[in-house]
């Protein structure tokens, strides 16, 4: 057990306590640095990219790294470095959308199921069970096959497989809080149900859900890249890391730079998000906090 020495005032605010422990966690720090870099790249990609990512130049195909093109060019003479930068933007846009949708749907349905129970709970949780019966990625592939490829498809497919986990977690959190005194007090004083849910329950279940979401970002980015890699995700000419690695693997023998640099970018991004997610979990989850 790691003891935090108590120096100065014992009653330290929650915020500064969190910040202190966060800075002590080496992995969380490395993760947050990597994630910050990826975020900055994603936001400012159009201005950081030295070339137009769509600009085809058949006179300069498969240029090796170095010289005019920092990371070389691809089969159509497009600048790999620029496409990797824009790829970060695509990847994070999909991940952000999926996260927003799944949190909204998952938390709402999970709270309804946990708080009201009854037939609403039965319908919601049976649906969750059925979705859980499929292996995640395979269900996403099924949805993508039906809806046809594209960015919207990817977001819908990944949201579909990701919300049940959030809903199940939310429901179990609400179930355990519903018996608490402060909820009884709120009911007794005539507070409306939706107000109890939003004002009294939501703030109390927020931190485990944030942990769950942050651990999930890495998975969502990986799933998006996998769908793109298989060719059923975001389509050309929009650059995606998954698609670029697929193209690069085909030319690995002669021009390995496309596959290797893109794989590196993807790996670093997911490692960053997972380190940050793990760090947040260790800090916010009281069960593992004091180890």
């Amino acid at each position: 057990m790691r003891q935090v020495p108590v120096i100065g005032p014992i009653r330290r605010g929650l915020q500064s306590d969190f910040a202190l422990r966060f800075r002590r966690s080496r992995n969380a720090m490395i993760g947050s640095v990597l994630v910050s870099i990826v975020l900055v790249v994603a936001i400012f990609a159009p201005w950081l990219a030295p070339y137009d990512y769509e600009q085809i130049n058949m006179l300069a195909i498969w240029r090796p790294p170095g010289g005019e093109h920092l990371l070389g060019t691809d089969a159509l003479g497009r600048d790999v470095f620029s496409r990797i930068l824009i790829g970060a933007r695509v990847s994070l846009t999909v991940a952000g959308s999926v996260l927003a949708i799944t949190l909204t749907i998952g938390v709402t349905l999970g709270m309804i199921a946990g708080y009201f129970g009854g037939w609403a709970e039965t319908i919601i949780m049976r649906t969750v069970d059925i979705i859980f019966a499929f292996p995640e990625l395979i269900l996403a592939i099924l949805v993508a096959a039906v809806l046809g490829t594209g960015t919207t498809t990817v977001i819908i497919a990944l949201s579909l497989v990701w919300w049940p986990g959030i809903a199940r977690l939310t429901r179990s959190l609400v179930l355990s809080l519903r018996e608490e005194m402060f909820v009884d007090a709120a009911i007794a004083s005539g507070t409306r149900s939706w107000r109890i849910l939003l004002r009294h329950l939501l703030p109390n279940i927020a931190s485990p859900i944030i942990v769950r979401a942050s651990v999930g970002v890495g998975f969502i980015i990986m799933a998006e890249a996998t769908l793109s890699f298989l060719g059923i995700g975001v389509q050309e000419p929009t650059p995606t890391w998954g698609g670029m690695i697929r193209d690069g693997l085909a030319a690995l023998r002669t021009d390995p730079h496309l596959a290797l640099f893109t794989s590196l970018a993807l790996a670093i991004t997911i490692i960053g998000f997972n380190l940050l997610g793990d760090g947040l979990r260790d800090l916010l989850d009281p069960k593992v906090r004091d180890r």
Binding site: A133, L142, F229, G231, I245, L249, L252, A259, L264, N274
Partner: protein, 312 residues
């Protein structure tokens, strides 16, 4: 125990029914008319069109198509392929039927002991440099997608060092990189879980007792502690297998392995929906079956769990 098993088996029925309904509806929802696609050149031939429609059962009302589909699936008949005229789906997927499960299960067989070993070592040396470096390797192992790892491994071991073939299927050396790709994230996942469980177990009273009565540390760890982390680990085998099955889709595609995963992807691009849906259905059945076996094993291993007697 028996009652629990029967109840779990019955519980599978709605899930599988949902899977069949979903795949059937998905078949209906896909854009375009498959018969028009099959006709292509002979699109004016009304007689041929009628004959094909009858062969595919598409001339019957929807409810009857559904009943026929379910009855067919129960007998291992998944209908006819849209890509190869009048060819039964089962003939197309028959050859690759075992490849994906074999890949997934052999990866699991390697990853499970490897993950347990790594997780245990990390837990014994908690907070030392050994622990820290193992954790970093594990995070990387979980984070790097298999196709990204594939580009590094193929580049180094197949192209630069020339130790193994680049792709293909049939020989042992061709299976090394594909199975490694499946083993890496799986063993990392198991190791991380096992580290957490092990840290919990090492704090329990019975471990203190074992040490207090003078047992050697080796026996305390490998006989007393490891046995108790096995039970919670076993419950995650279902999730692990789901990941492995998804992994076979990618790995088979990369290395041109003629398993169900790569077949499914090819079928998606050829708009051969009956094949895609049949494979999704088979994977779901396999996945559900393994989860059932794991649950039964779980209650058999841990005598404290009397799932059958618990009020439902």
């Amino acid at each position: 125990m028996l009652r629990y098993g029967v109840r779990r088996l019955l519980g599978l029925i709605p899930v599988l029914l949902a899977a069949v309904i979903l795949t059937f509806l998905a078949n209906q929802a896909v854009p375009g008319d498959p018969i028009t696609g099959l006709l292509s050149d002979q699109s004016g031939d009304a007689a041929l069109e009628a004959r094909l429609r009858a062969a595919y059962g598409l001339d019957r009302p929807l409810w009857q198509q559904f009943v026929d589909y379910i009855l067919g699936v129960l007998q291992g008949d998944f209908g006819l392929s849209f890509r190869f005229a009048q060819m039964p789906v089962i003939d197309i997927i028959g050859e690759g039927l075992l490849i994906s499960p074999v890949l997934a299960l052999s990866a699991l067989a390697i990853a499970f002991p490897l993950g347990m070993l790594l997780g245990t070592i990390a837990a014994i040396r908690q907070n030392s440099w050994v622990d820290t470096s193992i954790i970093l390797v594990l995070v990387a192992g979980i984070s790097v997608p298999n196709f990204a790892l594939a580009s590094f491994l193929v580049y180094i071991f197949a192209l630069q060092l020339d130790w193994v073939p680049v792709a293909g299927w049939g020989s042992f050396s061709q299976a090394i990189i594909p199975i490694t790709l499946l083993v890496v994230p799986t063993s990392a996942y198991i190791a991380r879980l096992n580290r957490t469980y092990m840290l919990e177990v090492l704090r329990t009273d019975y471990i203190r007792t074992a040490r207090a009565k003078g047992l050697r540390e080796k026996i305390v760890i490998w006989r007393h502690a490891v046995r108790n982390t096995l039970v919670p680990l076993l419950t995650t085998v279902g999730i692990i297998l789901g990941g492995l099955l998804s992994g076979t889709f990618v790995v088979e595609t990369i290395f041109n392995i003629p398993g169900l995963g790569s077949l499914a992807i090819q079928a998606i691009f050829a708009r051969d929906y009956p094949v895609t849906m049949a494979i999704v259905l088979l994977f779901t059945v396999f996945y559900a079956g393994i989860n059932l076996i794991v649950d039964l094993l779980y209650s058999a291993i841990d005598p404290r769990i009397r799932l059958g007697d618990r009020a439902a």
